[in-house]
């Protein structure tokens, strides 16, 4: 999920050739509801999403959560895979 326009996300999806869905939250309404805003973190002091990875089980309950305190840092895919397998 990102504030990117659909065309931008489609280019990213085509480039990465992955089969997950890219969801657009252009005004950050959902990101804000989730409390995942990096306030004034973008160019010109705009709000941007805080990088976060959230694993939900079949009931929609949060089972695993990776929040970064530095936007360069993202979870190791092996840790994400381990959390998915542990469901």
């Amino acid at each position: 999920m990102s504030p990117d326009a659909n065309a931008q996300s489609q280019r990213l999806a085509d480039g990465l050739r992955v089969n997950y869905r890219f969801v657009a939250d252009p005004d950050l309404a959902v990101t804000r509801r989730y409390g995942l805003i990096h306030r004034r973190g973008g160019p010109g002091g705009r709000d941007v999403p805080r990088p976060a990875t959230v694993l939900l089980d079949r009931d929609g309950v949060v089972r695993w959560l990776a929040l970064s305190a530095n936007y360069q840092v993202r979870p190791d895919p092996r840790d994400v895979a381990r959390a998915v397998r542990a469901l």
């Binding site: 999920m1 489609q10 969801v23 989730y34 990096h38 999403p49 976060a52 190791d76």
Partner: protein, 130 residues
Amino acid sequence: MTAGRLAALSLLICGVTIGGYSLLIGVAAVRNHPEGYVAAYAIAATVAGLSVALRRRWSGWLALAVSVLLLTLGSYVNFVMARIPDDPTALRVGERAPDFTLPDAGGRRVSLADYRGKKPVLLVFYRGYW
């Protein structure tokens, strides 16, 4: 080591750091330790400083200027720009995530509720291209 060689070593450290970090950004062990590039620029600046202390030649000054500039920029990015204030999130492990309905890249609507009782969901929030 001569002043010229120290200057060259300093510039080499800078180049390898920029190239290595750009090439290996996809490797979690590299990407998730951004303080590594700051440390590398600090070492490069120290080596360049030694070069200038040994002999005041243009090569030493050039290496010092390049490494100090990269150290300043790198420190700013890592310690100021990239730092995210620890605001409270609405997400707690063990609690249900808020529902949403949004369009996907193909323009089709996606509801979190559609997956309930069917599949686990991995939600990845990222900054996008602005």
